[in-house]
Each structure stands twice: as C-alpha cells, then as structure tokens.
Symmetry: C2
Subunit: 619 residues, 2 copies
Amino acid sequence: MPTGTLISEAIQGANLDVTQPCGGQGRCGRCAVILEGTGARRRSTIRLTAEDMAAGYALACQTVIEGDVTITIPEQERIERRLTTDKTARKIELPFPYDPATMQSVQAFQVDLPPPSLQDNMDDLSRLEKALAAKGFTSITIPLPTLRRLGTILRDSEWSPWVVLESQAPLLGPARLIDLSPEPIQPIGLALDIGTTTVTALLVDLTTGQVLNSAAEYNGQIARGEDVISRIIYAEKKDLSELGTLVRQTIDTLLERLKRRTGISPEGIHKVTVAGNTTMIHLFLGLPPSSIRLTPYIPTVNHPQTHLASELNLGVHPQASVLCLSGVASYVGADITAGVLASGLANTDELTLFIDVGTNGETVLGTEEWMVTCACSAGPAFEGAGVVDGMRATVGAIEEVWVHSETYEPTIRVIGNAKPRGICGSGLISLLAELFVTGVVDRAGQVKLDLDTPRVRQGEHGPEYIVVWGDETETGRDIVLTKVDVDNLMRAKAAIYAGFTVLAESVGVELKDAKQVLVGGAFGKYINVENAIKIGLLPDLPWDRFHFLGNTAVLGSYMALLSFRSRQQIQEIAQMMTYVELSADNTFYDAFTAALFLPHTEITRFPSVAEIWAQHEGD
Amino acid sequence: MPTGTLISEAIQGANLDVTQPCGGQGRCGRCAVILEGTGARRRSTIRLTAEDMAAGYALACQTVIEGDVTITIPEQERIERRLTTDKTARKIELPFPYDPATMQSVQAFQVDLPPPSLQDNMDDLSRLEKALAAKGFTSITIPLPTLRRLGTILRDSEWSPWVVLESQAPLLGPARLIDLSPEPIQPIGLALDIGTTTVTALLVDLTTGQVLNSAAEYNGQIARGEDVISRIIYAEKKDLSELGTLVRQTIDTLLERLKRRTGISPEGIHKVTVAGNTTMIHLFLGLPPSSIRLTPYIPTVNHPQTHLASELNLGVHPQASVLCLSGVASYVGADITAGVLASGLANTDELTLFIDVGTNGETVLGTEEWMVTCACSAGPAFEGAGVVDGMRATVGAIEEVWVHSETYEPTIRVIGNAKPRGICGSGLISLLAELFVTGVVDRAGQVKLDLDTPRVRQGEHGPEYIVVWGDETETGRDIVLTKVDVDNLMRAKAAIYAGFTVLAESVGVELKDAKQVLVGGAFGKYINVENAIKIGLLPDLPWDRFHFLGNTAVLGSYMALLSFRSRQQIQEIAQMMTYVELSADNTFYDAFTAALFLPHTEITRFPSVAEIWAQHEGD
C-alpha cells in the first residue's frame, strides 16, 4: 500500500466499511478508528480529545499511512457510545488535585483490636469505638444492620476487621460505620445526574478519585411525560411512587452496566451524590411535586438532607449515604448549582453568563461574588418536541444542515449514518440559521413561498420548507420545517434570550460585557455558536468567549462526591444566588416580545448578524 | 349494723362474698375493699401502701365500721391485677419533681409560619427550619417519611402545623422532627422493662410526666426457653429473629391493652426507653447473643445507640427513638443500672447492697462514689424451675407456708384463692425457712425422715416433705419438696450470698457494715426478710435496713424516659461499676461452698439465726 494512503481508502480497499456521514470531510468525527503502531500521521484531529488520541483514536478520513500500523475499526455501537455517553465520562476531570486525606468523607481501612479476655471484657462495640477513637474518630454511629453483624465479623476477622466510615470532617470526628468485613474493602462512590431526559452515572474510586467507568441512559420516566410539568401532573393525578420506581429502575440499569464493565457490584457503593432539577430531585426522594407548578412555585425542599440508600430503596449499599445537592428554587435546581460549580463561575471575578440550554432554560449571570438566576420556560422545542419532525438526538436525527444560498438545496448530517427520521435540537438551530441567512425565512419567521425552489410550499399546516424528500427518509414521509415549527423555535430562543436580558438589567450590566459564556448541558455540547448567534439564541459575542462544557451537572455531582469543600460550595452557591421570578412583573414579557424576531427586534444587539443580513438584503 | 362490726362480717351479713385466703388474719391482703366516707377505722393496714389507703383501700378483715361508709368490693380480677401488674404501676413515682422544660427531649407544639409568596419563595423545609430556629432549635433533622408529608401538612394546617421534636438538649439545639400534623399532638412516651419472664410497659404523658397506664405480660419468648442461656442457645441453633418477633408480639399485646384503657394508639408513642438484661436487649435489637454465654462472655454492645422504631419493627410511631439503656457486662445489664438509679444507690454515701433476686442474681455493692457488681448465676430455682413442684407466681401457686413446730403440719397461702398447683419462689423461701427452723431439714439440707409425721417420707427422688396432699391439689398429686429441691434451693441461695461476700471482700468491707439493702425485681417484693435471712439468702442485718423496691428496672426506664440527667446517670453508673468476673479465680467457688449450709458454714455471720437454731438444738 503506497505511503500516503488515507486510512479510509485503505479500509475500503480491504472491502471493509467505516462510517463517514460527512462524506470524508473530517467534520463529523464518526469515522474514528484505533491505531496501534507509529506508522500513521493525523492530518486533522477535529472532534478528538487528547484522551482520545492517547487511546489511539484517529479519523480514518484525515489520517495517512506512512509505515507499519494496525488499524481497528470500532463496532458502530462503540462509536455511538463514545460519541454520546462514554464521551462524557472520558472528559470528566476534576478541576483540583484530589487529596482524600483532606477532602474525602468516606474511607476504608483495617483496624486492629486487642482480643477480649476475662480481664478485658469490654463489649464488641466499645472495643471498636476505642480503636477508632485512637485514630481520631470520636463518635461512631453504627446502623442497626451493621451492629447485627459486628460480633461475627470481629471474630471472623480475628479482631482485625476492615471498616468503611463516613465522617463529618475529613479523617476525623463524628463518623458513621457504613460497613465492616473480614476482607479488604475498596471505598466506591457514585455521582449521579438525574436529568429529565437522561440519567448519567459515574462510578468513582474514592481512594484515587478516578472515574472507574460511566454510563448514561434515558430516564425511564419519559414514558410518563417528556417534560417536568407533565411529570408533575402525572405524579399528582396518577402515581407519584411509580415515577420514583421508574428512575430507580433506570439507575439499576446503569449500575448493572457499570458492574459488567468493572466487576464492582452495586452493593459495593458507599456514597452517592445526586444532581438534578428540582422536580427530578422531588420525584427521586418521593416528595409530592404539586406545589412546584402552582403559584407561588414552592418546592418542598431546596436543600435536601442526607438520606440512606435503604430509605430510598436505592440498589447500592443499604447504608450508603445519598446526598441530593442543593437547588435554588422550583425551576433552578441542583443541576444548575452543580453546573455553576463545575463551570468555574463560582471562582472567577469576570462577568460570566452560564446557560443550561434546555426545556427550562436556566441561566445564571454573575461572578464569584454575586449571581442572579432565572428559568425562562423555553419549552421543549430544542429537544424536538412541539416541532412536526422534531426528535431527540438519537440515530436517524438530522444534527446539522447546510442550505445552498442560491439553489436552497440542503446538505444534511444524520446521527448514526442512518436514513433520516427527524431533526434534533442542534439540527433545528442549524436549519433555522441557514434558512434565515439564505432568506428562506425572514426576520419575522415567515417562510417565503415565492422562492424559485420546490423546497418551499404551502403545506397542510401552512408554509413549510422540505428538508428531506420522502423517498430518502426512514419513514417515507417528507421531513419538513413548518411556519408553526419556526414560531415554536423562535418562542423558545426568545425566552432564553429574554432571560439573559432580564438578568443583565436586574443588576444593571450589559450582556456584551460578559467576559465568558459557559454553556452546560449535554445538548449544549452540540450547539454551533455561529448558528445559535444567527437566530438570536446566544448573545452576539466573540466566539472565543463561548465554552461548551458538556454535562456540568454530573461533573459538579462528581466534585461533590469527592470533596467536602465542593459540597459546601454548592450550598453556598445555592444560597448566594438571587432567584429572579420572571412571572412577578412584565419585564420578562417585554424582553420576550422584543426577542421574537430573527435575531432580535433590536438588530444592534447582534452586529455580526446585522452584517450578514445587510449583505443578504442588499442582494 | 352495730358500731365495731368488721367489714368482712358486714359483707357476709349482706350475703356478699369477699376473698379471705388467710382466713381473716390480716396477713394476705386479699380482702381489700374500697371505702367512701369516714365511718370506718382500719385496725391494721398490713400490705396496704400509702397510695392504696389514699385510694380508699382497707382490709375487710381488719377494719371496723363506726359510722356511715360506702363499701365497694373490687372484682376479683381487679384485686389480682392490683397485686400483680397494676400494683407496679401505682407505685411508680419519680424521685424528682418533673420539669419538662429542663428535662424532656420530646416536645410537641404549634408553630406559625409566614405563608409563601412570589416575593418570599423559600422552600417548605427552610421555612419550617427558620421558624424552629427562632425557637432555639438550630439544626433540624427531618426523616424522609415526614418530609414526604411536609408540603401537604403545611398547606392543610394553613402554615400553622403542630410538630413533635426530639432534641439533643432540653428545648434547644439540634433536633429531629418526629411528626407533624394539622391537628394538636400530645407527646407520649413508653418505658419498657423487658424481663426474661415478664415485660412491663408504662405509658407516659411527656408533658406532665404522669404514668397514664401500665401493663405487664409474660415474655412470649418463654415458650422458647425459661432462662437467658436457653434463649441464647435457641437463637444460636434455631432462630434469632423469631425471639425478636416473640418479644415484639408481647409488646404489641401490651400496647393494645394500653390503647383499650387510654384511647392512645401505639402510633401516638414518640419515644421509648428499654431496660432489660443484656441478653434481652440483644434479642430485642436482633443481635446474635452467642458470645454472651461463651468465655470470655463478651456482649456485642453494652451501650446501645438510639435506633428508630421503624428499624426495629416496633409497633409505635415509626420515627420514635428507641433507647436501650446501658448495661455493664454480659450478666449485669440495663435492668441493673436502671435499678441502681431508681433505687437511689447512686445518690447515697452510705454503704449499700443492691440485689435483684432472680436467675442471674445480679448484685451491686457501693455508694454514689464507687460500685462493684457481679452476677452469680443463681439459677432459676427461685423462679420455680429445677424444683419438682416449683412454678411461677400465678394463680394456684403456694406463696407462703407456715410449719407447726410440733406437728410439722403446714398452713399455706395460695395466690388467687385457688386449689394449689405448686410453689412459687416466695413460697419456696418460706417453706425452706420453716422446715429449717422446725428441724425437718438440718443445716446441711438433709430431710429428717425419723420425725413423727407422715409429712416426711422416702419418695421416688429420695427424702421429701409433703406440703399438700393430693386430694387438696388442683392436679390430684401431692405437692412436695424433695431433698434434690432443697439442694437446688441451697445452691441458688449460696450463689447469691457468695456474690455478696466476694463483692465485700473485693473492696475490703464487711457485709454487716451495709447501711441498707435494696431489693429490686418484681419477685423481690414478695420476699419475707425473716425467712430469707433464716435460709442465708439475705445477710443477717436489722430488718429495717431492708427495702423492697419492686420493679426498679421499669422505674429506672421511666426516669430515663423523662429526664436527660437520668439517662446520663445510667450511663455513668454503667461506666462507674467495676464488674467482678466470678469465674476468673476460686474466690467465688470458695465462698459458694461455704454458703452451702443453712444458713451458712460460718454461723457467726448469722447471729439472729444462730439464736433460733440454738434454741431448736436445745429442744
């Protein structure tokens, strides 16, 4: 094979196949293969992280063969995983060096007790307490199930048991005996993020702080409602406990998957931290959520106390502590406080905007010294709901669209190299931005039917643009974006942008003074800044101020799992944030109405878009 | 009716009946009636307490009519109760004035919260916490089941709920929310004593400190073994959890009875304290008790932590705290520490001997400044086991015997005015003492067969004394005391007395210097000092030094239920006591052997008995 051959060509030459949804342009990252040996050179490493490359990943379409190299084509399933759930895990990195001695509350160690005698007849528990007191643990709480095993285990271990303790301060002070055993025990933790759509779990070695493995799965509650409001109504009218059972089943699925991959059984998990929005936390704890959706929107609890896994029927060690992190209000929950911590907003003196783009559109503006927050009820349009051909970001979803400025013909990229079935959030943003800049849709969101293309037509639901003709789709039906869809998307983006402006006005700063915009949420990772600015979803700032952080909620949960200080900080963040209730007066409504244009009524807020638009109008 | 008529005669004159097992000699106390009015004079008040008299009780055979008086004859059942279980209750009096503000940890009160609004959107729990903090409760723990009801109850109560809190210091500081309700709640406690034979329960109003009612019942575990060792073996070889279930069923029976009498349901009980020997506490907590009976006799726990009723499946409020009081060692348990507190030993500078006469023969010698204790494995002879015609103190048990010094014919008193079925502990002490002073049994415990009476004979199991001929018994069989029975009784009394001497020697004091002898345990109440000294069971001290305190364990449990300080004191007592392990060397064995005589090998230890015996020998 000649030197300089592309790996993708070599693979095809060998009659093998590698997925190339972008057609070999090095844009989608889906043709990743694994290299062993040094005889290959990467021309481009787009969409590969440093870890990916350290693990040998390279893009088949962007890597040339220059010598001996073994190429492994990952199974498609593996690629999918890598790009969705496992990618999240591989990116998880603590923003601080981990020192269990000063940070961790859960420890496992062996303790030597003097065996009893007629002259030394101290009872078993006092004997253990005395030995632990000598190590600095002054007041041991022992749960009844553990106490019931104490006598046997002390004797089986010949008075040298392993213990797992959770202390209230690192390595010291009052502590709770979680487990004890004659065999060595490794302390393990679980960081959860319970999203309305996806539940993410990180299995963590509490000694090293490392993520041993991670997994993500759709929240089983989806079958009972796509968004938080429908879940609340289901809990109210039908069955609160069923929703608890469903999310526990999802967690069980994740735990089984993690066990398969690591050999660590769920019963070996000694501590759990949970991030999630306020409704998800209420359903997880079995708290009736009704008051969350009724004015004045009061949750039962924003700062949950620590509960035991056994009380929650959670399938980890029954004595594991389960800490649901602190939220701010009914619609700004622990996913946001954990996200703020993970994003670094709490440690910067620069004016920062933090956004979790999603149904609730939670936004935080501030610095380490002050924060204001709101939730702007964007609705689920960006999650594919309320849009005729909208869908979640799974196989068959159109995730990016390019529209030709003269022919109005689209080029699309589909997740999983499958026939398209619909359009996911990032695809919708991309499509709307392209339709806007090519003039298919005007500033008011009207679809121009007078263009010279069969792609626009008067459809059943009014004017629409055909993205894919039926003969190329999975379902055989055209995939379209209708005027109604455009209105829904505009309402969603207007709500989010209005949230930004209300927050900025509430503290008397200007959005353009934001030195960084941190975008959290799994969905945020896939947003194209340029497109998002074009439609007025994100403020018009230099692109280098935007940082897409992925699932900041699970990262915050992971930090809280490992560090006392991080848990404190999340509480502090929750208490520091001033919640701006958008329904309290007309400020939000006015800002929302102003944002119901592409990109905005006040075009001066979007100078970069104004330029493109001016060119276009000038055509 | 002429002035001076005995009430018993008046009753018979009216063709009514009153029980008079002692034949109207004013000895048995069973003809008690209730007087209203002042027209009667008590000649004797034997077996009546001050409370009895305040309640109007008088002995029908010892009270003369001198004017207008209304006489009520209690139902026989009521008399039985008064003499057994309920008597215990009526005697229960705190040795200190009760002030819940400084003593009690459980309180119920109504709290007013400001209703939430869009401007005041604090979550429900924080709102409650803030209101409670204003009352001095700085850190509220809320159990998950209570949290799940919080939102509904706050709204149902229009933001003025009743709460039940258990605090760690009176009226202040960290506290646990046990319950909350829109309706007023009365805080109620339960003081338990779980005896090997009998479980006693006091239902207590925690606001006033008053015992609302009490009940006692045989421990359901009896069916699985009469003494602690057989229970331990049953737990080991057969079913530990069954023993827990059995005692919980007994407690449920008591709770149902208390509910019937007071209308207070078990779910309304917010705090429970438990006294009991170490084995009973282990079985109640579900702890394997094996190591208690195996050298070096180490229990799992002497100082149990507080557990929740729900963890123990105890049928009171699931969030009620259950505190098993502190014990000293495997054979000196919380019944003794609670008993020592209740007896006043911990508050006197006089040398005091405290005895719980029973299977284990726990004894404490000391003052408020020091205490030594031991358990001398007396065996269950005084509880009627190991004696051919022994039985527990129930209906049909001979509880007192007088033997004629010339004819050797006995006079007996039977519990419940029934045909005799056997002899209970107090009856055995009385019988052995009488047989000894009348010369039927000699100092070595030999039954003299050469006496001129058909009451002594060579029986199937060796020499024996016939207490009741078969034609007068319930069973139709003779009730006898055999040489083997005498040996068993002598071993039991020798073990107890040897315990006293070992304790005295261990601290270098003499038994005769004891300024008071406090006898605890329900059985203790019925011991006749004179007889007990005659057989060498109790030391030969002036009778006025003896105080029979009844169930000191349940009294201590009651004190602990009401008072922080009492709980602390029980812990202090448990920690202060030096446990003397009798199996550690030969000291106990030597003392035991010396005591295997009537009353003792060293007759000089029993000068009052020596005198009687000298008279007798001189006959």
